[in-house]
């Protein structure tokens, strides 16, 4: 199956093949400015659910040396729970939320109708097929196509949920994304306590308090080597964690 086509439309459900094919062709022939159909407004359900997510996660949101902005950004965060994309997305102000799409694991978010509905209709997730990554439909290309010139993305560069105390090394995706689009602002985000709200393998969240901390924007420097950049990005998240802990 072709992930490239589905991700370009932002609707990764199983459309009839012909339909999917047609959309992909159109996406390829068009200039890439409008592939992710920036939404006019969030529906009532989406706003309600964002509020609900904020209530359940009880999240306090902090911006440290940083401001909410509708500029094109990549938010990158530590990853501890399947709720992370939803909680981070809901923590953004309304106008920013409208243009921001979380990148999430396709296998998890299409498993039930409810999840699928949430991912597709509510927070407009960019679902990535983790098992079927090939050169011709690399997630990087999918993401770049999806954000076009308007949208922002939420990514989890650890690549998997990590419940250990230490952050894992970041995967190189963030680097490749930035090399293609060095103009994108990178915002480090530290998500605290969400793994206790919904740990691995559980389905019913416990409504504990969480906190989300946004840090100062950073960019890929000119000719910055990959390991150095990834370390810098990871350190930015770790720094936010230390700030959260020391308060």
């Amino acid at each position: 199956m072709s992930d490239g086509g589905t991700a370009t439309t932002g609707r990764p459900e199983d459309r009839p093949l012909a339909n999917r094919h047609r959309r992909r062709v159109r996406a390829e022939s068009d200039p890439p400015q409008e592939p992710s159909r920036p939404r006019e407004s969030l529906g009532l359900t989406a706003n309600f659910l964002a509020g609900f997510a904020r209530f359940i996660s009880g999240s306090s949101v902090r911006w440290i040396d940083s401001q909410p902005d509708t500029a094109q950004r990549i938010y990158f965060a530590n990853h501890t729970s399947h709720l992370d994309p939803l909680v981070l997305w809901a923590a953004l102000p309304r106008e920013v939320r409208l243009i921001t799409r979380p990148v999430a694991a396709r296998d998890y978010w299409i498993k039930s109708r409810l999840r699928r509905y949430l991912a597709e209709e509510v927070f407009d997730a960019l679902l990535i097929d983790r098992d079927n990554i090939r050169v011709h439909n690399s997630p990087i290309k999918i993401m770049l196509d999806a954000i076009g010139t308007h949208s922002s993305l939420i990514v989890f560069p650890e690549g998997h949920r990590n419940t250990a105390d230490e952050l894992d090394e970041f995967k190189s995706g963030l680097f490749h994304l930035c090399r293609k689009r060095p103009d994108l602002e990178l915002i480090p985000v530290y998500i605290n306590n969400v793994n206790r709200v919904l740990p691995r393998g559980e389905f019913l969240p416990v409504p504990l308090l969480t906190s989300i901390t946004f840090g100062p924007p950073m960019w890929l420097e000119n000719k910055e080597p990959k390991p150095q950049f990834l370390k810098r990005a990871r350190d930015a998240v770790i720094r936010l964690r230390e700030i959260t802990r020391n308060e």
Partner: protein, 323 residues
């Protein structure tokens, strides 16, 4: 003889007067603290408490206009929020997740539901948590198969449930105490409001006595602002005011005075106990995760400890028969 409605609103008016006075004192202290003479964090804590009391009192006053279950629901929501603050600061493990689900989605709503049904369920709601939930929590944790620090984890969850849910549910339960001559729902609401008034007054007077005469600190490592003078002073002041307000209660004056002293003492003890937990966890407020605000639990800790004691004293002393 004043009718029950007038008496109740007189009391509500009294509460508003106390709050207005407290707000005035708070603002005065805030101005003074700018000169560095007072500890600004103590003053801001005082002002946060006052603001929380405005909120609680107005919500209660409005809830009294509706059927009784609305008041119970209000307390239920406060309780839910306090519990999530408590558990958020308590180190639990993944093995506790299912037990916590039961805690939040079943035990807490059920407790308040039973309280809302009224005193004919007293036999159940008074034991639901200390008997059934306290046994169920360790059982559920044991079944999930994680033995690490098992006793510690169970005890922490039990303590949170006890303080945030069980104890607090006794405040709305005051409305279902059946007391001779107390048939009207306004009378019942008044007993709850009397309790809330004395509890908030105890915090106010404690600060004032601390400021005026505080010398012998009880436990410097826990809270350097709690002294024996402030405890005794606030018990004394509350018993004077409580005694003067006896017309609003089912008690004679001396008994209203004595019970008010008990409320003040338990309120002080409750705040002190909850600060001890905060010191141990190394935070200043339960709501620390919620930036910049003290948590709900920081505001209601004194009611939590005073409510069940006031309820049972009233019940035993007055010989209040439950319905």
């Amino acid at each position: 003889m004043i009718d029950p409605i007038t008496r109740t609103w007189l009391l509500v008016g009294g509460v508003l007067a106390v709050l207005a006075a407290a707000t005035g004192v708070g603002q005065y202290l805030r101005v003074r603290s700018r000169t560095g003479e007072l500890n600004p964090s103590v003053v801001s804590d005082f002002n946060l408490r006052i603001r929380a009391w405005w909120l609680i009192s107005s919500v209660l006053a409005i809830a009294f206009l509706f059927p009784q279950w609305v008041t119970v629901l209000v307390f239920g929501l406060i309780s839910f929020w306090a519990l999530r603050e408590f558990i958020s600061l308590t180190p639990t493990r993944l093995g506790d997740h299912r037990a916590l689900n039961w805690l939040f989605y079943f035990i807490t709503p059920l407790q308040f539901f039973l309280v809302g049904l009224g005193s004919q369920f007293y036999d159940l709601y008074s034991v639901l948590i200390p008997v059934y939930a306290f046994l169920f929590i360790p059982i559920r944790i044991a079944f999930s198969g994680d033995a690490k620090r098992f006793l510690e984890r169970s005890a922490k969850i039990q303590f949170g449930l006890m303080v945030c849910v069980y104890c607090l549910s006794y405040a709305p339960a005051l409305m279902s105490l059946k007391i001779e001559g107390y048939q009207d729902s306004w009378d019942r609401a008044r007993l709850l409001f009397f309790f809330v008034l004395i509890a908030q007054l105890s915090e106010l007077t404690e600060y004032l006595w601390q400021r005026l005469a505080g010398r012998r600190i009880i436990a410097p490592l826990i809270n350097p602002n709690r002294t024996w003078e402030s405890l005794i002073g606030s018990m004394g002041s509350c018993s004077l005011v409580g005694g003067a307000l006896y017309w609003a209660t089912p008690f004679p004056a001396w008994m209203a005075a004595g019970l008010s002293a008990v409320i003040a003492m338990m309120g002080f003890a409750g705040a002190m106990t909850m600060s001890t937990i905060k010191r141990d966890r190394g935070v200043s407020d339960y709501g620390t995760l919620v930036t910049g605000h003290g948590g709900v639990l920081d505001r209601i800790d004194s009611i939590c400890f005073a409510a069940p004691v006031f309820f049972h004293f009233t019940r035993f002393i007055i010989g209040a028969n439950l319905l």
